[in-house]
């Protein structure tokens, strides 16, 4: 039942301000309506600021508090919004909780575009082999004269950044402390220490976690999710938010498929179930299997970014 007006559908959204509201029915049909003002026994309040609001209650015209701001919803006759203080007023806010992160991500994205730097956000659960995969990827790329940089996210230690620096690629470690993900501001701060290489590539290794990093745009061009065959075929179904936003899914440790009796086809079907568009690549960061295709995917993604059409798009957004 609609909590707003009792007119029979759980999935109801109300449009603030005019009593009109929307129901999404089980078959997806969207119904927008108002209730009959006479049958609903509507009545008016004169607000302190002179505005008149008209609304209704199941309890009819019995005395009740006027509302500071009329929001278009109904109340039982006895209602104080859980408050007895008549000074309570309502302030409309309508702010996206992610807005601050998204603004920072946009600033990062603009900076990357200006520098012509391709940025990949690399995510996985702990132990899927992100760092090993990244080290091998950097080894393959640096031999071709690419300018590279890495931001490493972990709750504690600089062990991963140390592993990256051992390859000769500059890296900065971000320790999130109790934080379970990188956000765009952390990346912005990291960029103050390690600027994005002009015309090069920046790899951001997120905190090992299949849940939290999914919701935070860092300003990256592409998102890669690593899942290893030691984890189980059902990971995409258990963590759909993470897989739904991936541009590429790397199935790592494929050299162990035989030994583990892992069902690659089921894993891939599960990826497609939550994300029909993502590229799925089999790799082994240990043996190098599948790296030709992975590096080719990166080349294509970086080239796409550097195309004049992409540059124009970024300019329009930054505008």
């Amino acid at each position: 039942m609609c909590g707003t007006c009792g007119c029979g559908d759980e999935a109801a959204v109300h449009v603030e301000g005019d009593g009109e509201h929307v129901h999404v029915q089980a078959d997806g049909t969207v119904v927008r309506h108002r209730h009959d003002p006479i049958a609903d026994d509507q009545h008016e309040h004169l607000l302190p600021d002179g505005r008149v609001v008209r609304h209704s209650h199941p309890g009819g015209r019995e005395p009740h508090l006027a509302h500071g701001v009329f929001t278009g919803h109904e109340h039982p006759a006895e209602h104080h919004h859980g408050l007895s203080d008549s000074e309570v007023r309502r302030i409309a806010v309508e702010q996206d909780v992610m807005a601050r992160n998204d603004r920072a991500a946009d600033l990062n994205r603009t900076r990357f575009a200006v520098e012509g730097c391709f940025v990949l956000n690399l995510m996985s659960g702990p132990g899927a082999g992100k760092t090993t995969l990244l080290v091998r990827t950097l080894d393959a790329l640096k031999g071709r004269g690419k300018k590279l940089a890495v931001i490493e996210g972990d709750q504690q230690t600089s062990l991963d950044a140390d592993r990256i620096r051992a390859t000769g690629v500059p890296a900065v470690q971000v320790n999130t402390g109790k934080g379970c993900h990188l956000d765009a501001e952390m990346v912005m701060r990291a960029l103050a220490k390690l600027p994005p290489p002009t015309g090069g590539q920046l790899y951001i290794e997120n905190v090992g976690n299949l849940v939290c990093p999914a919701g935070f745009d860092l300003g990256e061009a592409k998102r890669a999710v690593v899942v290893s065959v030691t984890e189980g075929e059902d990971k995409p179904l258990k963590y759909p938010d993470m897989f739904a936003k991936a541009d590429v899914v790397l199935v790592n440790k494929v050299d162990l498929v035989q030994a583990l009796g892992f069902d690659l086809a089921t894993l891939k079907a599960n990826v497609r179930r939550v994300n029909p568009k993502a590229e799925v690549l089999d790799v082994s960061a240990r043996t190098g299997e599948g790296f030709d295709r992975w590096i080719a995917w990166l080349d294509a993604a970086a080239t796409q970014l550097a195309s004049p059409a992409a540059a124009a798009r970024v300019e329009a957004t930054a505008g």
């Binding site: 859980g82 007023r89 302030i91 806010v93 702010q95 992610m98 919701g215 935070f216 759909p240 029909p276």
Partner: protein
């Protein structure tokens, strides 16, 4: 538990609004959370109480309105309601669903004195 970070952002948004409107104390914070927003309301409430401590938001109630997920089906061309990212199209059974709604996380309204 990215809900802790989200709760901190919510408290920040509320405090900023409260400063602008010369608010003495915040009694309730209204949120709208989509069914596909990747947010656990219980964890968010817990994080909110912790983040609000020592501010004028401390003790405020959290009123959460859930909104349904919505998707466009690439196979049958219908706009449909979905409850999770794993849903198949309720109309034709296809998995070719493009999520079009229900990912929002918004502060909608405050009750203040």
């Amino acid at each position: 538990m990215h809900e802790v970070a989200l709760a901190q952002s919510i408290v920040e948004i509320v405090r900023e609004q409260a400063r602008r409107d010369h608010v003495r104390s915040v009694k309730a914070v209204h949120l709208r959370i989509g069914a596909l927003a990747n947010v656990e309301p219980e964890a968010l409430s817990f994080g909110f109480d912790a983040a609000a401590k020592g501010t004028l938001v401390e003790g405020a109630a959290l009123a959460i309105e859930r909104t349904p997920g919505a998707a466009f089906c690439g196979a049958c061309g219908k706009d449909v309601a979905v409850e999770s990212r794993l849903d198949l199209c309720p109309s034709c059974g296809s998995a070719q669903l493009l999520i079009t709604g229900g990912e929002e996380l918004r502060v909608t309204e405050l009750e203040v004195t």
